[in-house]
């Protein structure tokens, strides 16, 4: 029987100096690497396949299968690229992982690179996290000095170089092909697929791109075995994952547990919604995953459970909003984000997100009408599925889902002649404080 919480990646975060090599080794670190180099690379890929690990960056693609798509080793070098861009609104798991235990990621990078026979790996980390970048740089340096990275690693004859690369502020660079363009020193705009990165990725060479949490899960799988990993979770959603609870919840934070737990269970562990209020809406995996309501508290948080409710598990960024929150305000702010972050490559997304903001602003001011709600849905229809990349699908998700569950609240704005909510009531400060801030 799996416990309700299963700290694996988070297990050492509370240790003194957890980010240093000595502390990591004292907690069992780098034992997986010793184990890995006694195996053929293909055996490691098989272990990852057997574990059932699916990508933790949002889409949930089976990791071992992705690695298996690499064409046979040829002239061109292979690359591993870690997606450490973590910028999906609500998502906040990779950053604390790299801050507390950068070596978990580094060990995962070494083993994964060995498995896919890459001799160079890049960690592409968003630029806006200075201390995380410091700790990654230091961890890589320590690993070089200990002989875990570099030439002839642990006498295996295997060589690897690892570079920590800081981005410069662009959500779209989390999209894997935009990330590759960015890593090549260009504007981060998505590429046409196929060819997929496994065939033509970085420098048109075979490339594997994985999320931080995916790669960080690999050492545990190698050390404890695929059966250990797959003993957690549900039939098609295996293993431990980090759930990030934020918003109007008593004890927000990171809760690592098996896939398939419900939000009701997690909320109980986190002390429930803040006192005196009740849950109004939540996102299962970031703002790009359609929102749910308290009707959905008992659904399993796994890939299938969320798909069944018309949404996606995404990054398990569980943002909770209580009854003081205006859903229209929340949706408008997310839409402004997508407008700002649209890379501009295709018209439906670039122009469409601009129009969405115009209509939502009018509605928020209380100047909208029923026609505007139809216009919103039409616009969404013309954006989703007609754009070049998944950013556009994410952009319409909050609007479509909020109209599904909270249409009345949109109507209330134009019947009321403005927003019926007091923003100060939603803040976490004392009322006087909040009022002093608002209107300033």
């Amino acid at each position: 029987m799996t416990d309700p919480l299963t700290p694996a990646l988070t297990a050492n975060w509370g240790q003194r100096g957890s980010w240093t090599l000595p502390a990591y080794v004292d907690q069992g670190g780098y034992r997986a690497l010793y184990e890995a180099v006694t195996h053929e690379p293909d055996e490691i890929i098989q272990m990852v396949k057997d574990s059932g690990l699916r990508g933790r960056g949002g889409a949930g693609f089976p990791t071992g299968m992705k690695w298996g798509f690499l064409p046979p080793l040829g002239e061109k070098p292979r690359y591993l690229v870690v997606n450490a861009d973590e910028s999906e609104p609500g998502t906040c798991k990779d950053i604390p992982l790299m801050l507390a235990s950068p070596h978990t990621l580094v060990e995962g990078v070494i083993i994964s690179s060995y498995a896919i026979r890459a001799r160079r790996a890049f960690i592409y980390v968003r630029g806006e996290v200075l201390h995380v970048i410091r700790r990654l740089q230091q961890a890589v340096r320590e690993a070089y000095d200990a002989g875990y990275i570099g030439h002839n690693i642990l006498g295996s004859g295997y060589d690897l170089e690892v570079v920590v690369h800081a981005g410069a502020g662009a959500y779209i660079c989390g999209e894997e092909t935009a990330l590759l363009d960015s890593l090549e020193g260009r504007r981060g705009q998505p590429r046409l697929r196929p060819p997929f990165p496994a065939v033509e990725g970085l420098y048109a060479s075979p490339t594997v791109i994985n999320n931080v949490e995916s790669i960080a899960s690999v050492p545990g799988i190698v050390l404890n075995g695929p059966e250990w990993f797959s003993s957690m979770g549900t039939e098609k959603s295996k293993g431990h994952v980090i759930y990030s609870l934020s918003g109007h919840v008593a004890r927000p934070g990171q809760y690592e547990g098996p896939l398939g737990i419900t939000l009701r269970e997690l909320l109980e562990l986190a002390g429930g919604i803040r006192a005196g209020h009740e849950l109004k809406f939540w996102t299962p995996g970031g703002s790009s995953t359609p929102m749910l309501t308290k009707e959905h508290l008992d659904l399993p948080l796994d890939y299938e459970g969320m798909a069944g409710a018309g949404t996606m598990l995404g990054t398990r960024a569980l943002q909770m909003f209580d009854d003081t929150t205006c859903v229209l305000r929340a949706v408008l702010r997310w839409t402004e984000f997508y407008k700002h972050e649209s890379c501009g490559k295709c018209t439906p997304c670039r122009e469409g997100t601009w129009w969405l903001v115009q209509v939502l602003e009018r509605l928020e001011r209380g100047e909208g009408s029923e026609d505007d709600l139809e216009t919103l849905l039409d616009l969404c229809d013309n954006i989703a599925g007609r754009s070049f990349c998944a950013l556009a699908d994410g952009a319409v998700a909050p609007i479509m889902s909020s109209l599904k569950y909270f249409r009345d609240e949109y109507v209330a704005h134009f019947e009321h002649g403005g927003c019926p909510f007091d923003p100060a009531a939603a803040t976490l400060f004392e009322p006087e404080t909040a009022t002093a801030g608002v209107g300033a």
Binding site: D3, P4, L5, P7, T10, W13, G14, Q15, V25, G28, Y30, R31, S87, E88, G90, T91, C92, R126, G127, V129, L130, H131, I133, R134, Q138, A139, A143, D145, A146, G147, I149, N152, E161, A166, A168, G169, G185, R187, G188, Y203, L223, G247, P252, G253, Q254, E256, F321, T325, R329, R333, F337, H340, P423, A426, T427, T433, A434, A436, G437, A440
Partner: protein
Amino acid sequence: MISDKTKGELREITARYPESRSALLPMLHLVQSEEGYVSPEGIEVCAELLDLTAAEVAAVATFYTMYKRRPVGDYHVGVCTNTLCAVMGGDAIFGTLKEHLGVGNDETTEDGKVTLEHVECNAACDYAPVVMVNWEFFDNMTPERARKLVDDLRAGNEVEADRGARICTWRQAERVLAGFPDGRADEGPSAGEASLAGLRLAAERGWSSGAPKPTGDAPPRGDAPNGAASNGATSNGGGGKGQ
């Protein structure tokens, strides 16, 4: 002015990559570290080193929000106003700071100390509302604490991040982002309280992932470097101040 030393370091960055153009983002961070923004001269120098046109470099620089067209103050104060932080109080904090500092979004105080900007989700939502100073975390902020924070920064008092190091200047931070460590990695905690919420609860209740305890000899801990190190492509980790 881009000094000769900086030009040397810009060249050093290109050596980390199989194809030199990959160096452009870190190079632009280094330009900002030297110039306080992406200056026309910085663009020229990068273009020359990478065999690109100035227009090509400028097209990249303008794509990313961290690259600035005007000089930034010593302290870049970013208030998260993405939905979750905004609702929890980020909008109120941003309003307070605008009024308190007498500047608008993306503007710098007259003393050149503080540049205020609202920023997007910074992956710290469990600490909402969040303020970033030179891309270091200030968690669970209130309008009062934010006011005190910028007052301290302007007065030159030493300020420590909640999950990070003592605050350096924006230009020094940009140098780290370019891949030149400043030796502060060992400052600050492993994690904040929210990061440990699930872990604490699991310990209380005796819950675990069921992973076996490690046995046998421990691998090298790195305190006695074994000399197997390569001339790695990454930059030196520096010896932090440790605590």
